[in-house]
């Protein structure tokens, strides 16, 4: 069965050297998680500044492409920090994630969020100067998706 193969794969990941090392340490998981949160601050801030501009709520007299352009590099930095800390966190508790609904919601939302970000929100934002209803909808959608990613991510820890 597919799900059995997936489970075995997750089990292997959990037994990996990195997963093992994090589980055996008293401080590694919290420290990696703390840097995951710093990544969240960086990504979240970049997303918010861009999306609030799309919604016309922040720096609304400045060109949209300027605001999005100024946040994109920092956004990518936040993503790199989040992914490179998120993977070891996952490896340390892959089986728990396998059974966690929050984890699967987060991964789905993350995938949607990344596709939306790089194929819709940024290309459109970077070619727009003034706002309109469509761009507002894009900003609202973007904020909503990333809120689900962050919120369900936090919820993995509670499940």
């Amino acid at each position: 069965m597919e799900s059995e193969r997936l489970f075995n794969f997750f089990d292997q990941l959990e037994q990996s050297f990195i997963g093992e090392a994090i589980r055996n340490s008293i401080w590694m998981f919290p420290v990696i998680e703390a840097f995951h949160l710093i990544g969240l601050a960086i990504l979240g801030g970049s997303i918010l500044v861009g999306d609030l501009r799309l919604l016309g709520l922040l720096l609304s007299t400045k060109p949209i492409n300027y605001v999005i352009g100024q946040t994109t590099l920092i956004l990518k930095l936040g993503l790199i920090i989040l992914v490179s800390t998120g993977i070891p966190l996952f490896l340390s508790e892959a089986i728990k994630c396998y059974y966690s609904r929050a984890f699967w919601i987060k991964m789905s939302a993350l995938l949607i969020g990344l596709v939306f970000l790089f194929f819709i929100r940024n290309p459109m934002g970077l070619s727009a100067v003034e706002g309109n209803a469509k761009l507002k909808l894009i900003g609202f959608t973007s904020i909503s998706i990333w809120a689900i990613v962050a919120g369900s991510g936090r919820w993995i820890g509670f499940s």
Partner: protein, 192 residues
């Protein structure tokens, strides 16, 4: 201070909050997500001051239009933070990471105060294209470093491996955390 924490822990709402199945996680999630509003947006104000991002925007405009969003996040973060402390007052008060975090926040406040005082005095010159003084770059960088430290120590609070109940600990740890090692009944006060 410990007496105040004990008194808080015995109030009705503190116990209700701690024992609630959903309220505590929801408040904690709101606390974490407000990082994005507060520190994430402050990041861009600081990067502007450091001349890294939004260099075409006058600093005064950044402070007038972007900083308020950050302060909104700060308000949400403070409110939820107080509630989280209120749910677990004694354990938090005797948590070395919590204490370190509070000290860092005081430093961040001092740094912000010094920055705004300086901006009041000489901020007009920064907008007129004259270069921003090194001391402003330094305060912006300090802001980012200190708030990162707040995030890190804040996350550690929940994992406190120096908990007063986990003895033996080095003497300096018990001193810094304010642990009363002999009185074991202290440990159970928060109910966890």
């Amino acid at each position: 201070m410990l007496e105040i924490a004990i008194w808080l822990s015995e109030t009705k709402w503190s116990i209700a909050l701690l024992e609630s199945l959903y309220m505590y996680p929801w408040i904690e999630s709101a606390h974490v997500l407000s990082i994005c509003f507060f520190i994430g947006i402050l990041l861009f104000v600081d990067l502007r001051l450091m001349g890294v991002a939004f260099t075409k925007l006058p600093i005064s405009e950044m402070n007038k239009k972007v900083l308020p969003w950050s302060l909104f996040g700060f308000g949400l973060m403070t409110l939820t933070g107080f509630l989280l402390f209120y749910a677990i007052p004694v354990r938090s008060y005797q948590n070395i990471f919590f204490r370190f975090k509070v000290i860092l926040i005081l430093f961040a406040g001092l740094n912000a105060f010094l920055f705004h005082r300086q901006m009041k005095r000489e901020g007009r010159n920064w907008d007129e294209g004259k270069s921003i003084p090194k001391s402003v770059h330094l305060k912006a960088a300090a802001s980012l470093v200190i708030w990162s430290g707040v995030i890190i120590s804040g996350r550690m609070i929940a994992y406190n491996w120096f908990d007063c109940d986990r003895q033996p600990q080095p003497e300096w740890v018990n001193w810094a955390a304010g642990c009363i090692v002999d009185l074991n009944q202290m440990g159970g006060l928060d109910g966890i």
